[in-house]
């Protein structure tokens, strides 16, 4: 039952509506990496 529902949900995916959320995922990821790089660098400098 759950599987069927999930498949329906998948088929209804509309990328254009979700693009902002998708972009946010990318940006969050970039920011995480950006911060970790900063941390790494600061560790190196010690």
């Amino acid at each position: 039952m759950a599987g069927q529902e999930k498949r329906q949900e998948d088929q209804e995916k509309k990328p254009k509506e979700d693009i902002v959320s998708i972009v946010k995922e990318f940006i969050s990821y970039f920011e995480k990496m950006d911060r970790s790089d900063k941390d790494d660098n600061s560790i190196k400098h010690r």
Binding site: K14, I22, V23, F26, F30
Partner: protein
């Protein structure tokens, strides 16, 4: 012919900026040795030695590239357009060009007393002068004058014959006539390379010089005669050409053919000065066979066609362009006519593309017919005014054309001369009007001419009736540019089958917004310059309020005027704006009031002025005249409401022009405007290209904001922050973002207008900037799919750039497939780009960075990203990490989508 180049190769020498230095340089060289080369100088000379067409083209292209997209116009021209009440900031460049083309150059004082001497010298012209001019990108009167006294070009030792000249011309594909022979001869005489471009330029210089007349208005030493390859034909001169061409008869043509002379503009113009009688008696038609006569008639008809084409289509802009390809006046007429037709088609094609209409034969025909009608009306202003006045029903452009054609076909040379004598009577018209206590402004004189031509009495009543017509026609000629015609076509209206009223109605709508803007800017500028006191500011704001009211509800305003049979004055407009649409006002009361008012309004402006002696202030007087002046458009003469509608905007524009014209204080354009112009002039050609590619209208505002936003991306943020009313939240989807933008734009506009009315000028500027930026962003979304999304990351506001690739033809709902490019600035990792492709719930991405280590880092932890995407329902099919391909030839366009197909 190898002179200079051989010298350069064999022994280096010092070139110190001028030929006179050569001798000295040689001397010095002996002492100092080799020092420096002046590359520019050499290149300039090298131009004369370019044999291959390709080399020539390359050089020409390079020269043109610089001039191409920049400086379409001078600040003077822009100011003239601005004061006409046009919305210069939001008009497409091609529109600006079209309107500017109609602006006649204002005569400046001829300060240079020695000008006459200079011209004399130039017109005698030494060989040196011509050869110098040949290698100068810009040829002015001064440069020609000075170069007469320079030496440097040495005659060739070689001998050559007349036949040699012919051969050289043939080799270069140049038409052989007395001018091209002179040019080729000159070049060969001085060992210079002979090519089509040089011959063309020499001929052009010759023509430009020959047409100089010390009595011409606006001439000075600095007057530019030629720039690059083009002759700077002035509208005055071109008008003279077309007028004279219009006087050519069959006999003139036949005489030329008989004498074996070239049928070109120069010869045709000369021929009309010959006595017509002489020509008739000279023609040897009796000695020709029937066959020969028929052939001659055929040729004559063809040439007449060409003359009509040239006379109709030759504008100063077209003349300038053609001169770059061939010498306008000495080239065979058929070639010139053909070039004009091709140019027109190209121009119309461009205009259609700009309004995003398909370039079909049908569309092209409509545009060319419409423009031809306009030119014809311009040439036959008086006749058209008469037609408009005397016709009961509205006439379409097509109908006007056929009426005019009929008139022209039956026009005898005698009548043509009658037209001339009407001009000589013009001075008397003014006196006549003054003597009869009739107003005698330019508009009234035009009107009187039309009445005379129609054999109507020049009475006060008739004058008033025709004044409306004249105003309408003048505005029609101003307003109907190719772009406007194309816009009408896009709305489904065929301008050729429209009446002048309909056309004015259409174009008027677009301009009032611009007028409002201009009034607002004028208030700001004048206030800044200190030319506006509080009372005057009130007056200007009053004008602004009227414009606002009229824009908001034009139909109601007109309905009110029409129903109450009120003359069209500014005061009544104000009243109409106030009361229109409000049904609780008692009509009877108003009619009574209106009756009284109209009696008052019959007084002339002069009387009004005398009455209000208390108003010492100039501005106050002007406002008073403005408010009490009458344009009699009452029920009888106007007939239908439609006519009122057509006259409304032209009338307002006219008042506005008069108003601004009274301000000597408005010496310069508003500061903000000048700043925009400067930015726009510096904008690289690639920006304009990109805008054109995406069909973003190339207007001053758009180019300005495009540049500002890319050079100062934080500007938008700063502007919003300054206005706490504009909250931009993180949007949940693109639709929300678009709605927010639209809302901000609308609010900013309203607040801007409020600020004007309240006289708060700094707030006005602020809100205007916000309005323009958001409007621009909206355009980029619509045309390019370019979004800037605000995100709050860790309490900080950041903007992300997103290009969304929407496939054309796909239904809006069908968005299962999507391509996008994300661009993001990080603090430490630099700019990161992500190319994303989505199909239903399947996603693929490729990340790009300039840096190897960044790439590695992003690659190493990509599972985090993939999981995050999965959490919102998207399965990542493939990923990739790419270093930025800096070594490859960079695409000039900033549009990352153009690389999309390569990457994914």
């Amino acid at each position: 012919m190898r002179g200079v180049i051989q010298t350069i190769k064999s022994e280096p020498y010092i070139v110190c900026g001028g030929e006179r230095q050569w001798a000295k340089a040689r001397e010095t060289k002996e002492k100092i040795g080799i020092t420096s080369f002046d590359v520019q100088e050499i290149l300039g000379k090298a131009q004369n030695y370019l044999y291959t067409e390709k080399a020539e083209k390359d050089l020409a292209e390079q020269l043109q590239e610089r001039g191409q997209e920049k400086g379409y116009w001078t600040e003077e021209q822009i100011k003239a357009l601005y004061q006409k009440g046009l919305d210069v900031e939001n008009m497409d460049f091609s529109e600006l060009k079209a309107y500017a083309g109609e602006t006649a150059t204002k005569p400046k004082k001829v300060e240079d007393e020695k000008l006459g001497d200079k011209l004399e010298t130039i017109q005698k012209g030494s060989d040196q002068m011509y050869l110098y001019a040949l290698s100068s990108p810009k040829v002015t009167i001064d440069s020609l004058y000075e170069s007469n006294f320079k030496g440097g070009f040495k005659k060739s030792a070689l001998n050559y014959s007349r036949q040699d000249i012919s051969n050289v011309l043939k080799l270069n594909g140049v038409e052989e006539n007395k001018n091209s022979i002179w040019a080729a001869d000159l070049l060969m005489m001085y060992d210079m390379g002979v090519n089509a471009a040089s011959i063309n330029k020499l001929q052009n210089i010759q023509t430009a010089i020959a047409s100089l007349d010390v009595k011409q208005s606006g001439l000075s030493g600095a007057t530019t005669l030629m720039e690059n390859q083009e002759v700077k034909y002035e509208p005055e001169y071109v008008d003279r050409i077309t007028d004279e061409l219009g006087m050519v008869t069959d006999e003139h043509i036949q005489k030329l053919i008989e004498e074996g002379q070239e049928v070109n503009i120069e010869n045709l113009r000369e021929s009309i000065h010959k006595n017509a009688h002489e020509i008739l008696s000279d023609l040897k038609e009796d000695h020709l066979t029937d066959k020969e006569i028929a052939a001659l008639e055929e040729e004559t008809t063809a040439i007449k066609e060409q003359i009509l084409t040239v006379a109709a289509k030759l504008t100063s802009e077209a003349a300038q362009k053609i001169s770059g390809q061939m010498p306008l006046e000495s080239t065979r007429l058929s070639k010139v006519a053909k070039a004009l037709l091709e140019m027109e088609e190209e121009q119309m094609g461009q205009v259609l593309e700009e309004v995003e209409l398909p370039v079909t034969k049908e569309h092209l025909d409509v545009l060319t017919q419409t423009m031809a009608a306009k030119t014809n009306i311009k040439e036959h202003f008086t006749e058209t005014a008469t037609l408009e006045l005397t016709s009961q029903d509205e006439m379409t452009l097509r109908e006007i054309q056929s009426a005019l054609a009929h008139y022209m076909a039956h026009e005898t040379p005698v009548e043509k001369r009658f037209g001339e004598s009407l001009a000589s009577v013009e001075g008397q018209i003014k006196t006549f009007l003054e003597n009869n206590q009739l107003p005698s402004e330019e508009g009234q004189i035009e009107g009187a001419k039309a009445l005379i031509a129609a054999s109507m009495e020049v009475s006060e009543e008739n004058l008033q009736a025709i004044e409306t017509v004249v105003l309408k026609l003048n505005h029609f000629l101003e307003e109907l540019t190719p772009v406007q015609a194309a816009r009408m076509l896009k709305e489904g209206i065929n301008p050729y089958h429209a009446t002048i009223d309909e056309i004015l109605d259409f174009t008027g709508k677009q301009h009032v917004e611009g007028l409002k803007g201009n009034v607002a800017e004028a208030i700001v500028a004048l206030k800044q310059q200190g030319s506006l006191n509080d009372q005057q500011q009130e007056g200007m704001i009053g004008l602004y309020r009227i414009l606002q009211a009229v824009t908001k509800d034009k139909e109601a305003v007109m309905g009110y005027l029409f129903k109450n049979q009120l003359p069209l004055t500014v005061e009544n407009l104000q009243a109409a704006a106030r009361y229109a649409g409000k049904t609780n006002i008692v009509d009877a009361k108003l009619d009574q009031h209106a009756g009284e008012k109209s009696k008052e309004q019959l007084q002339t402006a002069q009387n009004m002025l005398e009455k209000s002696e208390e108003a010492a202030d100039e501005m106050a007087k002007a406002i008073k005249i403005l408010e009490e002046m009458t344009l009699p458009v009452d029920a009888e003469h106007s007939g239908k409401m439609g006519r009122l509608s057509a006259i409304l905007y032209p009338y307002i524009k006219e008042q506005f022009k008069k108003e601004l014209g009274k301000f000597e204080g408005l010496k310069a354009l508003p500061e903000s405007f000048v700043e925009k112009l400067e930015v726009v002039q510096q904008a690289p050609a690639s920006v304009l290209e990109e805008m054109r590619e995406h069909h973003i209208p190339v207007t001053i505002n758009n180019v300005y904001w495009m540049e500002q936003m890319s050079n100062q991306p934080e500007l938008y943020e700063a502007l919003l922050e300054a206005n706490p009313d504009f909250q931009e939240k993180e949007p949940r989807n693109l639709e929300e973002l678009e709605e927010a933008l639209s809302k901000i734009c609308q609010e900013a506009k309203e607040k801007k207008e409020e600020a004007v009315v309240k006289g708060n000028l700094s707030r006005y500027k602020n809100y205007k900037a916000v309005e323009e930026m958001t409007a621009f962003k909206q355009q980029r979304i619509e045309k390019e799919g370019f979004y800037q999304i605000p995100f709050i990351i860790e309490g900080e506001r950041k903007l992300v750039s997103l290009y969304v690739y929407d496939q054309k033809g796909q239904e809006a709902d069908l968005n299962e497939n999507l391509k996008a490019v994300i661009s993001y600035e990080t603090k430490h990792l630099g700019t990161i780009k992500a190319y994303v492709k989505i199909e239903k719930d399947q996603l693929g991405f490729e990340i790009e960075s300039k840096n190897e280590s960044v790439k590695k880092l992003l690659n190493a932890h990509q599972d985090l990203l993939i999981q995050g995407l999965l959490d919102i329902g998207y399965h990542t099919q493939y990923t990739g990490y790419k270093e930025s391909e800096v070594t490859q030839p960079q695409v000039i366009s900033r549009d990352p989508l153009s690389r999309f197909e390569e990457i994914i």
